[in-house]
């Protein structure tokens, strides 16, 4: 069972806005029937020249050996577009556990949380600070503390609070999911069905 409390990691800066889930994982890779193996096609069309795995694009951050880590940092409106949960699976399979942005699309946020990836919404200013710091030094570390709901750039000491709803926080910390909770309400659901339908 996966749980989530605190992560300290170097970051991967992806300075692009409006990253839609078609970019995170293009539709043609949605044909798998399990949740595994999507990581190798994460950001596929930005990662490779002409869809050719032998031709990684040097200017794309995932191909730059300077940047590694469990925290992806992206510009505003991350995860818009298609509801495919494969986007969250691809990020998780690749090894990301946190995505930081100043704005997330609704469905993506939900999908991420359901897969134990923490979307951290920060202010535009703080986002810029992370990009600035990592540009100066790719090795800087960022700490994401779910219990305290804080994100901190360890090199500079800058930090910010982030929001998460208390229910989801509980789920992440304890490693249980929505179905566990809903199944505990089964009698109530049956009762509702009988009365209303």
């Amino acid at each position: 069972m996966q749980t989530f409390q605190k992560i300290i990691s170097t970051v991967v800066p992806l300075s692009i806005e409006n990253i839609d889930t078609d970019q995170i994982i293009p539709a043609r890779f949605l044909k798998a029937t399990t949740r595994e193996g999507f990581g190798k096609n994460l950001f596929r069309d930005w990662r490779y020249e002409n869809n050719d795995e032998n031709k990684p694009r040097k200017d794309f951050v995932l191909n730059n050996p300077l940047y590694k880590g469990e925290i992806l940092v992206a510009e505003k409106n991350f995860g818009c577009g298609s509801s495919r949960e494969h986007a969250a699976w691809a990020l998780a399979d690749y090894g990301f556990r946190v995505v930081v942005s100043s704005f997330f699309a609704d469905i993506f946020k939900n999908n991420a949380l359901n897969n134990f990836i923490l979307p951290v919404t920060v202010s535009d200013k703080f986002l810029e600070q992370i990009f600035d710091e990592v540009q100066k030094n790719p090795k800087i570390e960022v700490e994401v503390d779910l219990l305290e709901q804080t994100i901190k750039i360890l090199s500079s000491g800058q930090s910010e609070q982030f929001e998460i709803n208390p229910y989801k926080k509980e789920c992440l910390i304890n490693g249980y999911d929505d179905i566990d909770y809903l199944l505990s309400l089964k009698n109530k659901i049956e009762e509702y069905e009988t009365i209303n339908h």
Binding site: K31, I179, L182, K188
Partner: protein, 465 residues
């Protein structure tokens, strides 16, 4: 204080609510398809639990099925496996499936309304973001991820926080050549691709009231393209007329009872929304997108904004979009040659859309430089088009009418737009690579796409009306 329509439907579907926790929210209809369901069934299997309510689960194969030779086995192995998996899962769990070749097969958001499964006051979900389409009937319909598909299969409920409510009012008369797709592209261009995030939208006003059900579906369909969870329209006589007599619609006494309830489904006059926007229909001209998100749209006679007019912070992504599209800033799009025309998708592949296209192209021929694909939204749409002789009009014009499916809307089957080629498309997304790796998409109405098919370039359809 009065209630909005969203409140009324929402509140009546909350099974259980606990402070600090999301609502356990009951789902009346759950649509599933081959792409976002296999992992959910796997989850059920691992937990060793059945589907909670098979009668409320409706299945179709649409996303990756071929649109040619649908009577033959699917050639592409992975697609075939996914479709077979759906068949196997539906059989094992006792769910009715409208698979490829079935007379009720089609794109999930087209068949729900067409079969009378979608009814006012319902809550509807599907592992597909365009579930908002069903909102045209006065339903709360929204897209969910696969984990949530599993939740609904397991419990007929999902966990949700109540969204904020926005009203978008459109009044006035639409100008010649302007149709519902133009309305929604116009709204998104005004409020941007993220302007609706966190909201559920109710569309209201005289312009909306005058639209047919199918035109309303086009509007609600693209609510997600402004970031909203969903969009809905209060049901009225036009809605009731559309539903009456459909396959699964209530009949006799049930109909009368349902109708009485449906008539209560509207926002009270003193209902309060978190946000209200107003637009004038007369300001809208036929629309076209020039960029790589649906918010990057403009009136067809306009010029793409100049780099200098773009907010400094947004310039980088603006430039990235234009580079992808291989377009200059500050130029008009009229006259720009296109290579493909795609009529299809859950946005614009209903019978009215095909009729609209047919009445325009009748007696005309497609330009030599374009390939034209017409992909009906469902088997029933296809059948009706053939019965009405629309297929012969298309054939004479050089258009190819194929079998139903999502097709080039997302390029999961073999219907892909080749890299670097321009496609004018009646679908809903112009993201990088959406219609195939490197494909360049212009979103437009069926009418504007029809004009482009005839001239081979981006054209102001009003010049031909």
């Amino acid at each position: 204080m009065g209630q909005t329509l969203i409140d009324k439907i929402w509140d009546s579907h909350v099974v259980y609510s606990k402070p600090g926790y999301p609502d356990a929210f009951y789902i009346d209809a759950h649509f599933i398809h081959e792409v976002t369901s296999p992992q959910a069934f796997d989850g059920l299997r691992k937990r060793n639990i059945p589907v909670f309510n098979t009668k409320r689960t409706h299945a179709t194969a649409d996303h990756n099925i071929p649109t040619l030779n649908q009577h033959l086995p699917i050639k592409e192995e992975l697609s075939r496996r996914q479709v077979e998996m759906l068949t196997k899962n539906c059989k094992e769990y006792g769910i009715e499936l409208y698979g490829m070749g079935h007379p009720f097969n089609g794109i999930v958001h087209i068949i729900g309304p067409e079969l009378g499964i979608t009814l006012p006051g319902m809550t509807i979900v599907c592992g597909d973001s365009h579930t908002s389409t069903h909102g045209a009937f006065g339903t709360i319909g929204f897209g969910i991820g696969t984990s949530q598909v599993e939740q609904v299969l397991a419990t007929q409920c999902i966990l949700q926080y109540k969204p904020k409510k926005m009203k978008i009012e459109i009044n006035g008369k639409l100008k010649k050549g302007v149709v519902s797709k133009d309305i929604i592209l116009y709204i998104i261009s005004k409020i941007t691709a993220s302007g609706g995030t966190g909201y559920f939208v109710e569309y209201a006003g005289e312009t909306i009231r005058n639209l047919s059900m199918e035109a309303r579906m086009t509007i609600c369909n693209m609510s997600i393209e402004m970031g909203a969870r969903g969009g809905l329209i209060a049901p009225d006589e036009i809605t009731f007329d559309y539903i009456k007599g459909r396959k699964f619609a209530p009949q006799g006494d049930d109909w009368d009872k349902a109708l009485a309830y449906w008539k209560t489904l509207h926002s009270d006059p003193d209902a309060v929304f978190d946000k209200v926007l107003q637009f004038d229909a007369a300001d809208i001209e036929p629309m076209i997108t020039y960029g790589t998100n649906p918010g990057m749209g403009m009136g067809i006679t306009k010029r793409i904004p100049s780099l200098g007019d773009i907010d400094e912070h947004d310039r980088k992504s603006f430039k990235k979009a234009l580079d992808y599209m291989a377009l200059e800033d500050g130029i008009p799009l009229l006259g720009k040659p296109v290579d493909y025309v795609f009529f299809g998708s859950c946005t614009n592949a209903r019978i009215e859309d095909l009729r609209m296209v047919a009445s325009f192209v009748k007696g005309r021929k497609k330009a030599d430089n374009v390939q034209v694909w017409v992909i009906p939204g469902s088997k029933q749409v296809e059948k009706q088009a053939r019965e009405e002789g629309i297929d012969t009009i298309f054939e004479a014009a050089g258009f190819q009418l194929r079998g139903p499916g999502c097709s080039a809307c997302l390029g999961m089957n073999e219907d892909k737009i080749p890299a670097g080629k321009y496609c004018i498309s009646t679908s809903n997304r112009n993201f990088e690579g959406r219609q195939g790796p490197g494909a360049r998409t212009f979103l437009a109405s069926p009418l504007t796409a029809a004009a482009a098919a005839i001239t081979g370039k981006i054209t102001d359809v009003r010049e031909y009306l």
